[in-house]
């Protein structure tokens, strides 16, 4: 019984001691976090900046632009990253501030869809016209059209090709 009470006493002391340590540890940990906030690397910042453009330096991606303004934007990206923002949140922040032109591609919405749709449609139309043209050309057999080729236009090549054929 005595042993039991001694055990209880030791247990309680340990608990109190651990709690005391825990209470002490909380501000220490918080202080440690204040002293060493998450610092994103240049590469992490550039990975986001690479896909953005500032409105002033036209057509120069943000990660490689040498102007002071762009350096400040990169610093801002670093700041947001250190605050735990995601890449999408950071991009959206800049879009809200400066418009969609900061993105390297138009967002897929509204009239912007045209930029993505027109080239493939134009290509397919071109391919269709070409295919149709080729087919219609083939359907009309040439009356007596000889095959005009290199051989006819260049005697030398004709002889060369003949010899090549013989040698095979």
């Amino acid at each position: 019984m005595k042993q039991h009470s001694t055990f209880n006493l030791q247990f309680s002391t340990t608990i109190i001691f651990l709690l005391f340590l825990a209470v002490l540890a909380v501000p220490v940990t918080a202080l440690a976090q204040d002293a060493e906030p998450y610092a994103p690397t240049d590469d992490e910042i550039n990975a986001i900046a690479r896909e953005m453009f500032c409105p002033v330096c036209e057509n120069v991606p943000l990660d490689v632009c040498g102007t002071q303004a762009c350096a400040q934007w990169r610093a801002l990206i670093g700041e947001k990253l250190s605050q735990g923002w995601t890449e999408e949140e950071i991009k959206q922040y800049f879009v809200d501030q400066y418009g969609a032109r900061v993105l390297s591609e138009p967002p897929r919405e509204g009239i912007n869809w045209l930029v993505y749709v027109v080239p493939p449609v134009a290509f397919l139309v071109g391919a269709y016209v070409l295919l149709k043209g080729l087919r219609s050309w083939r359907q009309i057999e040439p009356e007596s059209t000889p095959l005009v080729n290199d051989e006819i236009s260049d005697d030398y090549v004709a002889r060369l090709e003949d010899e090549l054929r013989k040698s095979q």
């Binding site: 550039n46 057509n59 120069v60 490689v64 070409l130 090549l164």
Partner: protein, 684 residues
């Protein structure tokens, strides 16, 4: 005095141009050969007059005449003489004079050739060339005058004007603002003239095409006459693009060579239609087909040449509103519109006379494959054109500007470019008229095996990117097919006359320079493709701030920051130059000296990378920032760019190939008689 002389020469050139146009038209209409000859002389006179005007600008630039606004805007006392001279094309108005001078030189050269033989075309060529020239001269005289001077008014205000304003006196700034530092690079000195040469020389085949349409001479004579002009134009334009890429790589400090910038695309678009045209005209020459299409292509190329100049000169790229505010933009727009409509109207008039003489007989024929090649080139053109103008459309309709950047172009153009590589491998093996799968298969299986071996080696080396594998395989296939073609030709030649390998190769080139020069161009394009695959798909980078002695690692490379010096130079630069040691797999491979130059006159910096270049890869170091006082720590950005050297070497192969292809041959023929088609056209 000199400014007045140069300006007077410009005015005279414009008057002479209008006279030439009128004399040619009246002479043709009233059948007065003396007037047509006079028009030719007018064309020839434009060249010395424009030379005088260009020399006047050069004199003003070289002698620091800062009272001339153009001189003050592009030069400064500290600039070396060669940069002052080349500042002729460093600004808008000077570059327009340069454009006109080149145009005049080329058009004059055309009229100096066999005048009597091509008398049917040449008067119309003069008219078209002089109209184009007159447009650019008018821009110079009325909108972008390089001889405008600075005048101080009694009120103290300084204004720009050609003639002395009331009470005004010439204003002499103590120094100029200097050339944009980015333009102070050998690549940038040669790059604009090359592009301009390409642009201007494409006007010549266009002028002949218009002459053919106007005269009703719808056979392939105009194509035969301009084949070499077209090749030269194409070579200059390609060189201009490659030099621009090299300049970007060396000066812009972003580790790349091509950023899908609208200005780059402006020069790329006429190249696309020009390349399609180069292939398509062969079909007309060999098979008498695609006459209408060739006309469309050369009209498009001409329109895109002017459109490219318009894009870069009008300010439209920064904003549609800038376009509306500038005087030069609407003028360009009107000129493009009018010339395009007139050209298409002429084409429509001759549409029936331009019908094909032959029919397409096989989907596997060379002409069918060339048509596919045209489709792919035009597909890339649509992507580029749409990507460039879409921000303007968006701004116009929604008021919001968007950026169409590299990801869009790379995604859309990548498959089309791969298709072009495939065609480059297959089309040279297909016969004109008809081919079969069997004959094609027989011709291509050996090169395919060789390309497959390369692919296996690439996979074994650790490459897992499927797009890279496709790109490398296709580029290898092009090279293997082309080498195989050479090999077959050389072997046949040796068997025939017992000559040695080198002699057989030389004879092969001499006997059919167009074909075998063209093959070299194909090899160069495959080399460019290898470089593009390397840098686009395998480029890696990292950035870090280092103290002296610290290192930064990237892949197998380690870079150690040794020291940094900051000093002033005699030509008004403040230079920060770092010394870094580079190690590969732990072994020293050399030192690099990345630096940042700050130009006091223009208050602009320029970043010059330190580059170690091999066929395997480039190690590319940029000095991003440093501690101003102690120079103890500095920030570096390093890139690992695999295979990029293949691009630069490929461009040399390209030059050799094009020169061989365009090498003048002794003309076998005299001018053929007007064909029946022309008679038919005249009867229309």
């Amino acid at each position: 005095m000199i400014a007045n002389l140069g300006y007077g020469a410009l005015v005279l050139t414009l008057i002479v141009s209008f006279y030439g146009i009128g004399a040619a038209l009246v002479g043709l209409r009233k059948n007065k050969p003396a007037l047509v000859d006079s028009a030719r002389n007018a064309m020839l006179l434009t060249f010395p007059l424009l030379t005088l005007s260009a020399l006047s600008i050069i004199y003003l630039l070289a002698t620091n005449h800062f009272e001339v606004e153009y001189v003050a805007s592009v030069t400064s006392r500290s600039m070396p003489m060669y940069l002052k001279v080349t500042a002729l094309w460093g600004g808008q108005s000077g570059s327009l004079v340069f454009w006109s001078w080149l145009m005049s030189a080329f058009a004059s050269a055309v009229t100096l050739r066999k005048w009597d033989r091509d008398r049917e075309f040449l008067p119309w060529v003069i008219v078209v060339s002089l109209i184009t020239l007159a447009f650019f001269l008018a821009l110079n005289l009325f909108v972008e005058n390089p001889f405008t001077r600075l005048w101080a008014l009694p009120s103290g205000q300084v204004i720009e004007a050609m003639l002395r304003p009331a009470g005004g006196s010439l204003y002499f700034p103590s120094d100029g603002r200097g050339l944009n530092p980015l333009l102070r690079h050998p690549g940038m000195i040669i790059h604009p003239p090359m592009l301009y040469l390409g642009f201007v020389s494409f006007v010549i085949p266009y002028a002949f095409a218009m002459a053919a349409l106007i005269t009703g001479r719808t056979d392939d004579r105009w194509i035969r006459l301009t084949r070499r002009w077209t090749l030269w134009a194409w070579m200059f334009l390609t060189l201009g693009l490659v030099l621009g890429g090299r300049w970007a790589y060396d000066v812009l400090g972003w580790g790349g060579y091509w950023g899908w910038d609208p200005v780059e695309i402006a020069a790329f678009m006429p190249w696309l239609t020009g390349t399609a045209f180069l292939h398509s005209v062969m079909i007309q020459e060999k098979r008498g087909m695609l006459k209408q299409w060739n006309m469309v292509l050369i009209i498009l190329t001409y329109a895109l040449v002017i459109f490219g100049t318009f894009l870069t000169r009008s300010g439209v790229l920064s904003s549609v509103h800038a376009f509306a505010q500038s005087a030069i933009g609407p003028l360009f727009f009107a000129f493009i519109g009018i010339t395009f409509i007139v050209s298409i109207s002429l084409l429509m008039q001759r549409w029936n006379a331009l019908k094909a003489q032959n029919q397409m007989t096989s989907m596997l024929s060379r002409e069918a494959l060339f048509l596919l090649n045209n489709l792919l080139f035009l597909g890339i053109l649509v992507v580029c054109f749409w990507g460039v103008i879409f921000p303007l459309i968006s701004e116009l309709f929604t008021g919001q500007k968007v950026t169409v950047g590299p990801p869009f172009y790379e995604r859309a153009n990548g498959p089309l470019m791969a298709g072009l590589l495939l065609l480059m491998a297959v089309a040279p093996l297909a016969a004109w008229g008809r081919s079969t799968y069997q004959t094609l298969g027989r011709a291509i299986w050996k090169p395919t095996v060789a390309a497959a071996v390369v692919l296996v080696a690439v996979i074994i080396s650790g490459v897992t990117n499927i797009y890279a594998m496709i790109g490398i395989f296709l580029a290898s296939l092009v090279i293997a097919v082309t080498i195989h073609q050479y090999w077959r030709g050389i072997m046949a030649r040796r068997k025939r006359d017992g000559s040695n390998f080198l002699a057989a190769f030389t004879k092969l080139m001499q006997r059919d320079p167009r074909r075998y020069g063209g093959y070299l161009v194909h090899i160069s394009m495959a080399m460019l493709a290898i470089g593009i695959v390397g840098i686009e798909m395998f480029q890696t980078e990292t950035q870090g701030t280092l103290s002296q002695g610290e290192s930064l690692e990237l892949g197998r490379y380690t870079m150690v920051y040794d020291e940094l010096a900051v000093f002033n130079t005699n030509d008004a630069r403040n230079v920060a130059r770092a010394v870094v040691s580079v190690y590969k797999d732990g072994k020293p491979v050399g030192e690099l000296y990345p630096r940042r130059d700050f130009f006091y006159d223009s208050q602009q910096p320029m970043t010059i990378p330190g580059v170690r270049s091999t066929f395997a890869d480039d190690f590319y170091v940029l000095l991003v920032d440093w501690e101003e006082i102690s120079s103890n720590s500095a920030t570096f950005k390093i890139y690992h760019n695999p295979l990029v050297k293949w691009m630069w070497v490929g461009s040399w192969v390209f030059i050799i190939g094009t020169l061989i292809s365009a090498w003048p041959e002794k003309e076998k023929e005299t001018a053929p008689k007007r064909s029946q088609h022309r008679v038919a056209a005249a009867a229309d």
